[in-house]
Symmetry: D2
Subunit: 371 residues, 4 copies
Amino acid sequence: MSKTDIGIGLVGSGFMGRCHANAFRSVSGLFDLPGTPALRVLADATQDIADRAAGQLGFDRATGDWSDLVSDPAVDIVAITAPNVLHAPIAHAAIKAGKTVYCEKPLSTTAAIALEMTQAAEAAGVVTMVGFNFQRNPMIRLARDIIESGEIGEVTGFRGRHAENYMADPDAPHSFRTDPAGGGALADIGSHIISMARYLLGPIAEVQGDCTTIHPTRPIRPGSSDRAPVDVDDMTHALLRFDRGVSGSIEANWAATGRTMDLSWEITGTKGALSFSQENMNELLLHSGQPGRSGYTRIEAGPAHPPYGNFCPAPGHHLGFNDLKVIEVAQLLSAHMGGENPGPDFREAYEVQRTVEAVQTSHAERSWVTL
Amino acid sequence: MSKTDIGIGLVGSGFMGRCHANAFRSVSGLFDLPGTPALRVLADATQDIADRAAGQLGFDRATGDWSDLVSDPAVDIVAITAPNVLHAPIAHAAIKAGKTVYCEKPLSTTAAIALEMTQAAEAAGVVTMVGFNFQRNPMIRLARDIIESGEIGEVTGFRGRHAENYMADPDAPHSFRTDPAGGGALADIGSHIISMARYLLGPIAEVQGDCTTIHPTRPIRPGSSDRAPVDVDDMTHALLRFDRGVSGSIEANWAATGRTMDLSWEITGTKGALSFSQENMNELLLHSGQPGRSGYTRIEAGPAHPPYGNFCPAPGHHLGFNDLKVIEVAQLLSAHMGGENPGPDFREAYEVQRTVEAVQTSHAERSWVTL
Amino acid sequence: MSKTDIGIGLVGSGFMGRCHANAFRSVSGLFDLPGTPALRVLADATQDIADRAAGQLGFDRATGDWSDLVSDPAVDIVAITAPNVLHAPIAHAAIKAGKTVYCEKPLSTTAAIALEMTQAAEAAGVVTMVGFNFQRNPMIRLARDIIESGEIGEVTGFRGRHAENYMADPDAPHSFRTDPAGGGALADIGSHIISMARYLLGPIAEVQGDCTTIHPTRPIRPGSSDRAPVDVDDMTHALLRFDRGVSGSIEANWAATGRTMDLSWEITGTKGALSFSQENMNELLLHSGQPGRSGYTRIEAGPAHPPYGNFCPAPGHHLGFNDLKVIEVAQLLSAHMGGENPGPDFREAYEVQRTVEAVQTSHAERSWVTL
Amino acid sequence: MSKTDIGIGLVGSGFMGRCHANAFRSVSGLFDLPGTPALRVLADATQDIADRAAGQLGFDRATGDWSDLVSDPAVDIVAITAPNVLHAPIAHAAIKAGKTVYCEKPLSTTAAIALEMTQAAEAAGVVTMVGFNFQRNPMIRLARDIIESGEIGEVTGFRGRHAENYMADPDAPHSFRTDPAGGGALADIGSHIISMARYLLGPIAEVQGDCTTIHPTRPIRPGSSDRAPVDVDDMTHALLRFDRGVSGSIEANWAATGRTMDLSWEITGTKGALSFSQENMNELLLHSGQPGRSGYTRIEAGPAHPPYGNFCPAPGHHLGFNDLKVIEVAQLLSAHMGGENPGPDFREAYEVQRTVEAVQTSHAERSWVTL
């Protein structure tokens, strides 16, 4: 094989770390890329944890010290799936070392820190990407193509939501998710619908939100009978106005009993409309208006919607959640090798985080906030 | 037949007038009521129009003067489907004459006038009812029963919408719907989702809304090339806080391409959830959480959900929109004969209208409004 | 009113009798017909039963003797909702008296008797109609229009079903439904899917079926602990070949736990496809194949689909089961007054019954049967 | 890493070959297996093709001669995705060499040859598996668990289908799919619904089918204007009787315009029902009958349904088609290492093929065929 090897260093081996590793392992069998990822170094909190994970995930070596990973010349891309509070130091070190940086969302614990990371990366000229993997879905790309082509006319309204149920139980314990630094439903999953709204309709100009803590206390750790107050939102509803003059609303809710992945939206235009939910991630509903035949068409994902065809030559065979990560990694590798970077890069992730904070401020001040 | 005849006087013979007449004609074959409606007098703008409609709809006599109808001793119930601006004078006259008053929504053009109507009716002790027919649906009653029984635990969130497409076309002309006195999407159809939210979850304490005029001008009349500015909303998104401590949001949108009757909502509780859309009016989605079997159950309307059984002894046979009006009329007749009045009565309709105006005020003042 | 009164005589006041009566009461407010139905005589098994029903349903007089009804000169149309075994004698008497005859399905207990009824009606030249009301649905008419226009190309396949659950319980007792003369799932509800298949695709040439008795005994009457053998099918699957050269299959099943009204079918063509289920009776799924936009379109019923507009001027407002009977009665009255008879008339109902018996024969003989 | 390497030899690098390779690459990051697959040898029709594929898919070496692959001592498992006609010789050679054999469906071009393969494998005692990957879906395993637990009572009926549209176009050309040896819609995709029916309900005792060639000629090769007759079915409908006494029907249709992956079935029981379609592969519909709450519950795939949790710790994140192949490969590797073999093994695949041929025979003889 004459292809260049691209050295991967992965920090973190939890749910998302595993997901990254598997995507890097799968991608070259599915995408025809100019380089091949090589799983070089895995770092985690201790050498033991890292050793075990490196064995299972197929990395060449393991370390309990992420700075060792960052400085390893065999590592070309630093993938960060460590706790949110570590994103900034790891990213700054990787940027300094001139590496491509691939970071899980949220980019950082505050928008201010995210901005510093962005400015550092831009000054250094390194490639960055942030893991908003839901927008890698071919149906989301199709939606944007339809909007940009004018097929649904001028956009007139937006209604979005990301609702899940993983914190619906009042006895779901405190964790990094309930840490006011970057935690709460709006930051955790509301960022997905904000990111997707921006991807589809562009920047948001003004927001006014209402943040609710449904369960005022939670166990301090799993199974504990000691409870501590919760300082973040379980549910946020917000009004939005986009730069392009369109209004709308979003909901972020991690206590939404009955919902496991309702990352959904409807976009209305003067000539048509689009509707999507991640609960049916392989379809996009498109409304168009032939008289007497008017109705939503359920477009099924297929080879007509790139890069679906990289996974399967026949329509209707369904991509899964992990496949979205493979697409993300393919885009990352391509950008690393000098190809186009479709983002979201650090700057875009900073903009999302800034929007999250604007909603929180609007709640605290009970007024609209201009971005 | 030993049953009492109940004299019906109907003002207006448009879409809703016809719908009333047909409901009065059908109801006694379907419901076992203590009295039988007799179609006595139909009034419309002119004698000619009234004559024609009375013939088709089966009324005993017709008049071009609604006050003649109101004062006719053969009329026991005055049903008002006239233009909104006439609701108040007709209702006041009927109340004065001691008649039961059945009025289409909105109760009046402003909340202030609606309050006067309410106070007059309460002072006179007459029975009143307002035509929010969507909440007559057996599945909506089932939803309220489920909520009140605690079956979904404590309610934690609400998300509602009434979206249709009948004003999506920028060339849809001005009409009473675009008259700032009582017009706009929020007043016209947003009132339905507000009414239903109150029916299911009780009073609303605070609102903050964003009203958008999508099409700034419209033809002054059908087919005209002269256009005049539009002073009402085509779409409104609003944040809500209920008295019971639950937060949520609503959207009202009459320019929602792709939607013909998306009067829909989701109510989340600590133990379950409910979801409904009028686009599938014969089903209610209920989520409950047996491990490994968790998911929304699509409950189909049937005889277990009164008064479905009055229409059909077998489940799955579907009620239609006009059947909801028959249920409404059965409830009206029962209340008229001394039975319970499930409402919405004038007071409830006033509360809905007051909420609509609070959202409009919150938009104008860019701040939360307390009700 | 200058319109002719059309005298209605109704035999039977059960579920279907009530449904007829209500349809006759509603129709003139909804359809602009040249005549107005007048509820003249109601007959039932005894004078008492008939009196009570006539009072509730609004008939002028009642009788315990159907021949008295048939011979009444005030009766122009004889509507038969009596037990199946009485269809033939009542119909023959009505035909002899020159009346229009409107009969519930099945036309009779055997195809042979149904043929005699057909021949008598044709010889007398009277108008006949049989109550296959599901095909009155505007969406079914739309489906036929789409097929006949060639919009889905040449038809290549059919798959149909009528599944309900009303006999799923092994303790559901014997009744007229389990009488071998005209009983069983195939005759009772399979006749609906056969009728609809013929309406959409024309005559059936050959059949091969498999009839299954799921519950071999049932209580002899409601609540009885005495059980008697069942001699009819609970479920039948059959292969079909249509005259036009298309193949397919149907299922009739009245023990289909989970189904309340799955009268459904899919028709495949070379250029598109159609899919329908009575469980979503206000929609028709149409597939057409724009590249990259391919998928089923959910067409919602609306004024573009006659006669929906007679019930409501706005789309998305849903017709119900009882509205289908109103459409049927409007077509009956129009045919009675000399208008076109869209059927199904007695001959068509005989053809359906003959097809049912052919399937039963094919099962008994374990071979294909040619019609 | 102390885990054993398991040498993989893959014959064929088309759609399915790629799919196998990717599954072998992914599996050890997702499943905790006692051994790790090592991609040793890839064989294809020529050395050139094999070289190119081996490079892209990450195999150690390539060969244009499959017998070279089979005899390589580094190969422990022979995976066969070559043309159907080669399945038998490759499998026999691999069996002779004592290798585990993993073969794509159909096992062979005739049931007779499939039986020889089965007998050879059983005599040699080698592990075999056949790629009916759709039944690896956790929701299908859940369905079988529900059936076997008695949760839906006694099974009373079955209705299944596998419909796709890939041969709907009359200009779709001849290929191995239209070769009478193993071709046609029933053999190609009907085998999936037969296999799944057997997985869920056990052996089939009797069949009676109707096979239809919709397009009598097709181009002899892609784009050619020369056409040759088609000797296989485009669509087959068949009646089934299972050994357990349940009746039902299936359809196989590769000309089903509008369907891309309608591998679907409904199973009815005395106490409940199950419904599934591969078009919504991450959900299973379960009907159970609480009074007034009766309806289908849409169970969403999640960690409660093994092995979903191997792919993602959170529910609602969706598995995709390629993930089913990973599950299959995990089961294969486990069986190879001495674990339980859940099948389908060669014998089961032979039974499926025998059933396909029985349906074809029943069509030719126009009679029921007993298996």
